[in-house]
Amino acid sequence: MALIEASHGSKVSQDNHQVRTAWSMTAPALALMFLILLVPIVVAGVLSFSNYSLGNTGFDWVGSQNYERLFSRSTYEKMFIATFTYVVTVVPISVGLGLGAALLVHSLGRVGDIYKTIYFLPVMATLLAMAIAWEFMLHPTIGMVNRTLEIACGTWLETIPFFLQGCEGSFPLWLGDRDYAIWVVCFIGIWQGFGFNMVLFLAGLTSVHRELYNAAEMDGARSGWEQFRLVTWPALGPTTVFVVTISCIRAFQVFDTIEAFWPQGGGPSKSAYVMMFAIFEKGIQQNLIGVGSAITMLFLLFVMFLTLIQRWLIERKVHYG
């Protein structure tokens, strides 16, 4: 009996020892994670309930005033509209185009490599530099876009109302027009983002078992669409969830295009006043840290929500373990 107890006791102390070693080894990583990831978020969370400005020695608690502003002022209403317009437009189109381009490039084999490079170019180019090129192309009078459109004047294309208006009066001002500004930003976002999605989908496609297509053919899946539904799409499930999440987060984070086009104010009558730009304007330019923090918290909430949805989808729906 004594023997058993003794050995039992030593086992407990050994366990304790192991636990302590484990903690001491994970401690540095935990501390770093805490410092680098959590502290800034907590600080932003705390500041969002204050009226702190950088340089001030003190600040007052203002309660939920910052948040109330976010949901009452029309500037922020525009901010939400611009952000959601951008996300809802850019995400589905850039994911869809990315998938389509990946399927095409994949089916081309060797020749596809050229397209792969071309489609990926906008991803590699810095948006700031590309924004200048786009600004030039979209210039109302000397820009390539409107000049190209003018060619259509006098042809049958004038039956289309858009061209008729453009030829009689003038073509849109694009970046200067509050009806077009956000759509131009969306277009550039898609142009810039779909190559990235294509590369992710291409990686996903290489993991599709080739013999499954043969099996589908033997089972009577005759059309490309049926084979896509039966083999490709389910196999791309995890990739798609990831691509959609990443695209959403990137879309919420859109900033550099707007900063490049309209450094002062987020588009004609704030039609392209997206969240990131608002954080920048309030928090940095106007030194209203409280408001900036409040928008930041909201932004983090969206991103967190998206990530949770992704985790749930991946674990429940698209992993066939």
Binding site: H209, E211, L212, N214, A215, A216, E217, M218, D219, G220, A221, R222, E226, L230, V231, P234, A235, G237, V318, Y320, G321
Partner: protein, 384 residues
Amino acid sequence: MSGLQIDAVEKDFGETSVLKGVTLNINDGEFVSLVGPSGCGKSTLLRIIAGLETATRGTVSIDGTDVTHVRAADRNLSMVFQSYALYPHLTVAENIAVPLRMRQMSTTQRLPVVGGLIPGTGPLKRDISQAVRHAAEMLEIGALLDRKPGQLSGGQRQRVALGRALVRNPAAFLLDEPLSNLDAKLRVQTRAEIAQLHRKLKATFIYVTHDQVEAMTMSDRIAVMMGGEILQCAAPEVIYEDPNDIRVAEFIGSPKINILPLEHTNDGVVLLGRVLDWPMPAGMPHLMQLGLRPEALRLVEGPSKLRGRVVHFENLGSEIFAQVVLYDGDIRLTLRATPADRQRLSLGKEVSLEFELRSGLIFDTAGKRLRMAEVKTRAAKEVA
């Protein structure tokens, strides 16, 4: 159910010719194995029969109808793939149902919600799930119907793949090394089950394997392939006892057949420097090869003309395989002995061997069988 005719099929992949004129007629309800070493073109031939690959030259017919230019989905054949190729996102029941859904239901009927509203979908779905259950019960996987392939063992996946193949009534079943991913014990068991399945369904089976034991145990006929050609297609016992080609003789049978050089001189037939009493007809070539199955060799007491030393032996309980290196010519022979001979076989021991002349198979130097040269009479019972 119907027969299959493969006529002078050739297949080139770019410059390399993989099939060099394969002709094979498979009867209705027959179980034919395509057997041969890895890379000899078995899978390619099967895929051409299936329609997944197009032949460069030659034709494939099913039941007399030329299907060379008919796509795989329209040939009404079922295939079991080496990797099983199950749809990972579908349950076992859904996997087995796919061939029926694809063939019997229209695109709109397959749609999740809308499909149910179309008249006739309900009864059709019931028929399909009935057929799925029937197939599952036949393969004893009824309890697994709600699982995903990822949650199954290799053997269970293999059954699901079989189930998907036999849920409908195809013209023939094509199986590409279906047992190669199973462990040895399961392989033996499944082998018997597939053979039983064939007897029960009375369907045409084309079975690809590199394992000659599988081919020998399951088939009505074996087609031995090598280098893109069928060397011989015959019943298993014919392939074993009466091969046309030395490559067939060497590939079929385990352990491998023993090959000894044979000389035909003016003095008579000479084996390893000794003249045999062999009634060789005229016109036979000078150099030949003698094939002796391990069971054709016998251990004898006292001196004989084939003498050597045991260098290795394997006792399998019911039989013993011993490798003997002959004193003449440094040739290694494999011999099958009964347990009664065990005392006489130990490593390094000197043994004397003999064989009956009429159990010897004669091939020319190119490997073609020389039946003319073989001893046919029962009387010629000379001992080497």
